[in-house]
Symmetry: C2
Subunit: 234 residues, 2 copies
């Protein structure tokens, strides 16, 4: 069992070499990496809509009209899902804004409809998430689902103590795994190798948890991945 | 004539009160504000595509089929424009990536097609922009066009000396103006009042220029706005 306890710099022992610390994204790069990921996610369904329109306007392809409309429909729905997800997971909103578990379940379920994994959202509908917890939960859910490339179940739970809100994700399925980039990101480490697009969201989750003064721990076992986030109450 | 010389913290005199400095966005907020602006820009054409699809599938609105397809077409084109613009203006790319003036002119012209202002892109097609200059130019052009709400001409120029690349925007037209939020943003000041969506892009431009070790100066006269950016060569 491989237990990686990830704590925030304030609480953990920062023994990284200066070179590693220097390679972490500056404010500027954190923003550009995040926008790059969004652009990457948006361009594919946008391109599919354009393809659907080309098909729709092709006089020699009138028998494919329904296919074209379906392609546009599916892609537009995917875009709506992406924007809704990005707004909560990455975007700013007034700090007063809060989200019900029901809303968050809906947004995440839409995202999971594009994945092989199944979402088990084990939080009562009426529970309210403040912004940092909502943002952490969205990213946690996405990463937990993404860790199941051949399918399985990602279960999300929320507990509360006097001092903290605890969010957990349990991904169970064949070959549940995190890419090395994702582990580095969750650990708050700079990207050493691999794809920045696979690294930025885990790093972003680390950054969200750190910003809220919380901790994040990852447990990897065969066919099982657990992530536990503890967010102190203000 | 109102000449606001905006210099980077390293070079300028930082006499702001600590409270003001503290209110500047942290790395986290810079990213979330930028993503919020993107989501805001993306949601409207995405919604229009969904509306067009609804119209297309309504049996009682078959006479509006062409309108529906046109709406989808226009909105999809707008999305492509937004993603292309965002990728250069806000997104990361490999630092090796460079852009020709021709490409940048095309991307900005597409953006101006959604504005009342006319773009005069006065840079030879074959000039090559490295990433920081390309990013600065995209944001400069957008802000210059946005400063002409009732129309006019935004002229973009590039000069080069031994030490620096100089980018200028000149917006001429009735009621050329910057919103107070935009002035604060260009000045690198926190948002004091008004809409964060109007503030973040000017602040982002300030941040891009500062990151590159450059300076930014704004000149406001009746029906005229000038912005000059000096980026030192590496």
């Amino acid at each position: 069992m491989d237990d990686l306890s990830l704590t925030t710099p304030e609480q953990g022992s920062e023994t990284e070499t200066p070179a590693k610390v220097a390679a972490l994204p500056n404010p500027h790069e954190l923003a550009t990496q995040l926008v790059a990921k969004l652009c990457h996610d948006f361009i594919s369904p946008t391109g599919a809509i354009i393809s659907g329109l080309d098909l729709l306007s092709d006089p020699s392809a009138q028998d494919m009209r329904d296919d074209a409309v379906n392609l546009i429909q599916t892609s537009a729905t995917k875009l709506v899902t992406l924007v809704h997800f990005a707004r909560v997971a990455f975007g700013a909103a007034t700090s007063a804004e809060a989200f019900s578990a029901k809303e968050l379940n809906k947004t995440l379920s839409d995202v999971f409809s594009t994945m092989r994994a199944t979402l088990a959202f084990d939080v009562a509908d009426e529970v309210v998430f403040e912004k940092p917890a909502a943002r952490a939960l969205m990213n946690l859910g996405y990463i937990a689902g993404n860790a199941l490339p051949t399918g399985g179940t990602a279960t999300l739970r929320r507990e509360e103590t006097d001092e903290a809100i605890i969010l957990t994700a349990q991904s169970n399925g064949p070959r549940a795994r995190l890419k090395p980039e994702a582990v580095e990101g969750l650990n708050g480490q700079p990207l050493s190798d691999g794809l920045s697009g696979q690294w930025i969201q885990p790093f972003w989750l680390h950054s969200v948890v750190q910003e809220a003064g919380g901790t994040l721990a990852v447990t990897l076992e065969p066919d099982s991945l657990g992530i536990k986030i503890v967010l102190p109450k203000k």
